[in-house]
Point group: C2
């Protein structure tokens, strides 16, 4: 993430502290079950120390854009998304057999090494798998705990709940489509984009924004439990909100604007990730060079490269894709082949187009001026990053 992203930094530090406080409380619950839970608690704390906090940032600004006030409660509710994400990453790394995450060994590798180092009984890999499944489950469950203990009014939580529910069903459905696509050998750009829609665009951007908006009462005007909708919280905003008249219209079009911003931005975000997954600097990404190639990931970048490759380029890509022993020389070779197809340039063009589309969707959308600026800034930060 670019260091000058104020819209993200504003939220990130407070999300960090909220997560630390939550995890420290849970540590007590775990240790009450037995001191043997200490490595599990430490592994979780280590994983949660990293992360860009993108989903909480979008949730926060989705709330602010709908007129929600800055307050500690929305920070806690938004931070809960980071627990879901951490749990999904633990499970994802296990499924992908990834060795590293955020510059550290992945959770299943940590526990595998623990088992191997102590010469315990049975299979070290099975132990690592079991620990990763259980710690991921814990993190996923803690999402709800932190969300409901955020201190937001009950009516707000009740409005947000269905959005959180939908978001989770979509992300796991998207991951299954990804797994299936890899199995059936779907190498089309369309197939890869469908996975991106559910696994990234909705999950990372659109739904967090919708969650923030629902918590603030947008889209539910007329119900008696919408404390922040169309109310005084928007006053002092300099007239940016309420542009299209009635509250119902404003809320409906705010949700629509978040979708119009979130979906293209989500695709751009994933395309940046695709490029970093092949061309990124390990010191910045926290992942080994060329990791997506090594893991044989079915990304949009690779789908485009394949669709444009000459026979020679295709041969190089096929030779290294999914090769667990891919080394520095191989990485350089496959990078040259992919770049040679023009796929990287095409992805950069797509990123530019999608970011512009996302930012354009903010124009005229019925939200506070501060939120509009923050979301425009976030759009750039999420897609111009180097790690």
């Amino acid at each position: 993430m670019t260091p000058d992203s104020a819209a993200l930094g504003h939220v990130r530090d407070r999300v960090d502290r909220a997560l630390q406080a939550f995890v420290s409380e849970q540590r007590g619950v775990l240790l009450a079950a037995g001191d043997d839970l200490r490595p599990g608690a430490e592994s979780i704390a280590g994983l949660l120390a990293g992360g860009k906090r993108l989903r909480p940032a979008f949730c926060y600004w989705g709330w602010r854009g709908a007129g929600g006030p800055d307050c500690p409660e929305i920070i806690k509710a938004a931070a809960a998304l980071e627990l879901l994400h951490a749990g999904a990453l633990v499970h994802d790394d296990l499924m992908d057999a990834s060795d590293t995450r955020r510059g550290q060994p992945s959770v299943h590798r940590q526990f595998e090494a623990r088992h191997a180092g102590r010469g315990w009984h049975g299979s070290a890999a099975a132990f690592g798998m079991g620990a990763a499944i259980l710690l991921g489950d814990l993190l996923i469950c803690w999402t709800d705990e932190m969300f409901h203990a955020s201190g937001l009014p009950p009516g707000a939580l009740r409005r947000g709940r269905p959005v959180l529910d939908r978001m989770r069903t979509e992300v796991f459905a998207g991951q299954y489509l990804d797994l299936l696509g890899q199995a059936i050998g779907d190498e089309t750009v369309a197939g890869a984009l469908r996975v991106v829609e559910f696994k990234t665009a909705k999950y990372t951007i659109e739904r967090p924004l919708h969650l923030g908006a629902a918590l603030a009462g947008a889209g539910l005007a007329g119900t008696d439990d919408a404390p922040y909708a169309g109310g005084g919280a928007l006053t002092g905003d300099g007239g940016a909100a309420g542009r299209d008249g009635g509250t119902a219209g404003r809320d409906g079009s705010l949700t629509a604007a978040y979708t119009a911003y979130g979906l293209p931005l989500g695709i751009a975000f994933q395309l940046r990730d695709d490029i970093l997954g092949v061309f990124g600097d390990p010191a910045q990404t926290g992942k080994p060079a060329g990791d997506d190639v090594r893991e044989g990931k079915r990304t949009v970048l690779l789908a485009i490269a394949r669709s444009r490759a000459t026979a020679g380029q295709a041969q190089v890509i096929d030779r290294y894709l999914g090769d667990p022993l891919l080394d520095g020389a191989g990485t350089a070779e496959v990078r040259a082949a992919i770049a040679g197809t023009g796929a990287v340039a095409e992805c950069e063009r797509m990123i530019g187009r999608h970011v512009s589309e996302a930012i354009a969707a903010l124009e005229g959308a019925p939200m506070t001026g501060e939120a509009r600026e923050a979301l425009a800034e976030l759009a750039v930060a999420a897609t111009a990053r180097v790690g």
Copy 2:
């Protein structure tokens, strides 16, 4: 489960219908992401068609015992526990490499077979693992969705939420302790009992009862959002409730009574499971004969058998424990060795003692007479079962 368990049957049919309705709705959400999600939706529906619905039954009677009225909302909230349990089972079967569940192939085996049968790319086992992780995650997330959409009053859900949270952290912590115990080769009876406390006694019985009580307002007297506590719902109960005077005292001692009933009953329940895991009839248990031996499970029964075994008996047990190829002849031999140690008789004595202790805890507890009878009946049903 014994067919004559009215206290369970009363709840089970309605829980079944609530789960069917919920899963059918979720199927629509999944298919909206793509028709490729159909096998996942079907696998989940198949898994949820089975099950004893013990946790929902304890939650329901925990609620009724605290004076909560019979209503569809508590059935839905209680049924949510079955989704958590199904998700945990999917993950548990994957960790244990179990082939079957409820008489069907386990979820990871279903998807492994799907991959192998179609000759898809990559490893069929990895595909099965990935699908099982994701479907388990979905089920675990749906717990919260069904719980919060149950229709119970917001105040009730707010009171129940921390109990549900604690219950989930405990069960995954207990599973980790189990995994760890197996790895470090802890063969003590005390070690096995500690796992049973968290993984079974609290999770299956104590916490579901506490959840029902918290939803009904027990233990939180004096707060302004306890609609069913100490109120008219207990009238007409024939004076069974409120025996020890003030509402706060009643609620406190109801929660304590549920613990005093739930923990010994949980141990008895698990001991029955341990016996069925070695001596059960596959037609009744839905699992192959001797499955716990084949999987090398570290049960209390096996810990007792080891602690009492002669050198010859220990040799037989060690020979077959964890042997994936254990056949009918081996099962018969290991059964004879275990029974010969007297461990089965000891477990039966422990079951009897713990069930008596559980039922005695109901005597004089401040709950409705109907609930007391139902819980006494459930104690027998949960421990006298053959499958």
